[in-house]
Symmetry: C2
Subunit: 471 residues, 2 copies
């Protein structure tokens, strides 16, 4: 197992190729590190010396007075071998090679990449990349990334073969309440591959959920062995890009990855207990679900809906995802009869039939309670339970908005309470395309989606993980 | 053909069952009508008389001094027959029966519904509903709806068998720049069915795109005949709910609709030139696409991507949707060679390889121009062309945000110009789950999505419409 602690918890960082030009990565990278208040020392290296960002510049990494745990190289590919030799001579403990122009760029690049790997492996200096956008690490507040991203801190760690997709999820995930612990854009993965990162995260106490964006791995057996071990402890969510023939070609020119057949990967994921995300946006939906929801112990879904149309859509979505929308037990029907108006749907989905009075009297949580405690129900989808429906640009509805917000806060608290009590997942779904509630409650231990189809798919995948672990 | 003008362009409206209690529909409905500044007269009816919302109340509709074009009934189902008889006697020209408790509630309700239909058909008074959430009409600013929705005005008309899904799309569509002309929640469609509304919209000059949320129709032949005629003039987008066996049952208890097999509907849609939305959220995506994009005349997609990962995902998404990601012509490659750095991907997808300088120098529109004018390309997906990637909660990046916004405004204007010039669709896609750019440019004649998978599906469906019209 490779020791990657110098990469993810360095006490000092050096930037080889530092620049005063604000559109050069040599300036942007140290700016990002400074902006995010890295906990350790920072050294800038440029043969011209002088000052950059108000800091002293060293002409060569060998001139740095103290120890360097992590060197980040942002120089053109043809000069990188000599920089890496200098780093190794200096005793640098780990390297991130951000530069592109290696195996992803053709045969000449591959030869250069192989020489670099020989140098760092000879001295046991782990190397991230090349062709990477960098790393993030919450414990030391290190944002050594190309884009100016300030991730929210939390328990998700993320290994990405795409720098852009990775850093975008890192950036926007925070708005959905997703906090990150470690992130790496693994680039061409010349020295450290996905399995190595996964193995490191396995023993990382701060990582509770692992997310992978992957195009392909070179050593499938090693990847599967590690993944099988990790997935018994922590959920692993993977999105596999390069699924179609043309997609495989695109992946080859992107990271030089052997993308391989999507069926082979799908079957491998299943064997390893990896949960596959079907779309890029499902990556974050799944991460949040695994963080905050208990796993469903069966596939029977109770649906509560404020409006029959959503009930029909939710039912279709569940059935399409392989979930069941069962009849309700007699005692459940009787209990609901006491709360709902006489003309209610008397079945699953439970239609709240535009029950304004019920909302005002706070009856919605009682309905959830009756459903979720039934032995015949393993999970609940609550469509319209989080009230939206008010156009916020309409100033005249301000009173409604304040009232709705209070109802929503109470209802969200009640869902969290019910999930703890009955250990079953309850997912409220907002109205069409309305993401406000998602952001409004992003700090709560609850999952809110804005698509019924996505919700059903997520529940089916969570049940898949339950089966993998228990059966 | 039924004359529905008294419903959609009434000069006066009466609310039968008006109430001073702010949680009753009898109060909410007239409040919504007043709030949205209806262009005609409003009469409130309640046997107690007195005043409601500062307005005079008539004890019976027969006491109203002037003519009533549209009566809206919000009384319990068992009293509705006599109210309708009174309306007909008064000479009311059309009726909306909001009340539930009819055919959707069982045999007793069906009998009552049939008697009501007999009464209104006897006098040629068209009736919306029962079990409806009402209607909206932009030309007279009439928002006779249960939820307090103020739709944005525009050229989309929408027939919905679900009141909640309909009014939610009406409400949130505005934030995506979607403007509506006529909306009807058709409820049980006892008198006027979907085909009747569709026929009315056919000759409505203000309607450019028709959207349907449907659970089922009673007279399939009539529906298909009308739809075939309309779809040659205007795009029809339909979402069919009640696709699975359990979904069909849920639809029956919702609107009493005969949902029927989803395969039958799919094939009917295809024959009629109706574009089917696969998810609820795709309804609005398609509506915007048909409003603002030229139809692609072939299935060959050029992909521009800022980051190779998105290029791989976009390629997979296109191939999965039945689109082609072709090799680029020699002259396209040569033209791009002059703009892009020497290590660019030299193929489709065109990876802008983290080209910060290119962004600053405004080169991105030039790259689009080269692609879109090529004979080998029918449509362009531009991933990352709309710059996001900056977490707005991070105050330190304000300078970047302002700069990015200016770049985005220029680039959006350039796309609109290129689409007009070459008559090919160009769709920019934002980074993962970032909807800000969608809202930022919602008033422009452009379509921005936040999912590459959705984008590919939409393009494939637009090409489907092109084939239907041209082949």
């Amino acid at each position: 197992m490779k020791d990657l602690s110098a990469i993810f918890e360095p006490r000092s960082v050096a930037i080889v190729g530092a620049s005063a030009n604000p559109v050069k990565w040599g300036c942007i990278i140290p700016s990002n590190i400074l902006m995010n208040s890295f906990d350790g020392g920072i050294y800038l290296i440029n043969p011209k010396g002088e000052e950059i960002l108000g800091m002293e510049v060293y002409k060569n990494i060998k001139d740095v007075p103290g120890e360097v745990d992590l060197a980040i190289i942002v120089r053109p590919s043809e000069t990188c071998l000599s920089h890496i030799e200098e780093c190794v001579d200096k005793g640098v403990k780990s390297i991130i090679l951000l530069s592109g122009g290696f195996s992803e760029a053709g045969d000449g690049g591959t030869a250069l990449e192989n020489r670099i790997v020989d140098v760092v492996r000879g001295k046991n200096v782990p190397l991230v990349g090349p062709n990477t956008m960098g790393i993030y690490s919450a414990p030391v507040s290190l944002s050594a990334l190309m884009p100016p991203v300030t991730p929210k801190k939390g328990p998700i760690s993320f290994i990405s073969q795409s720098g852009n997709i990775g850093t975008n999820i890192l950036s926007f995930g925070g708005e959905m309440g997703l906090g990150f612990n470690k992130f790496v854009s693994c680039g061409n993965a010349a020295d450290i591959d996905i399995a190595d990162y996964l193995e490191y995260l396995d023993s990382d106490q701060k990582t509770k959920v692992v997310v992978l964006y992957m195009e392909g791995v070179r050593d499938g057996r090693k990847f599967m062995d590690v993944a099988k071990r990790v997935s018994l402890k922590k959920p692993i969510i993977a999105y596999k890009a390069g699924k179609t023939a043309k997609g495989v070609m695109a992946a080859a020119s992107h990271t030089g990855a052997l993308a391989g057949s999507s069926k082979v990967y799908q079957s491998a994921f299943k064997q390893c207990g990896i949960t596959e995300a079907s779309t890029v946006n499902e990556i974050t939906d799944l991460a949040r679900a695994f963080l905050y929801l208990p796993l469903p112990k069966g596939n029977k879904v109770g649906i509560v809906t404020w409006g029959g149309g959503y009930g029909v859509v939710a039912t279709d979505a569940c059935e399409d995802a392989g979930l069941e929308v069962p009849e309700l037990d007699e005692e459940v029907l009787e209990a609901l009869d006491k709360i709902l108006p006489p003309y209610w749907s008397k079945g699953n989905p439970v239609d709240l039939v535009a029950m304004m009075e019920g909302v005002i009297e706070g009856k919605m949580p009682d309905i959830l309670d009756i459903l979720v405690k039934s032995d015949g129900i393993d999970a609940v989808i609550a469509s319209g339970y989080i009230l939206g429906g008010i156009n916020p640009t309409n100033q005249k509805t301000e009173g409604f908005t304040t009232f709705y917000d209070e109802v929503n806060r109470n209802n969200v608290a009640k869902i969290i309470e019910l999930m703890k009590k009955y250990e079953k997942p309850i997912i409220p779904v907002t109205t069409v395309a309305d993401q406000r509630a998602v952001q409004r409650f992003s700090e709560e231990e609850i999952v809110i989606y804005s698509s019924l189809e996505s919700t059903a798919n997520i529940l089916a995948k969570m049940f898949g993980r339950y089966k993998y672990l228990e059966w």
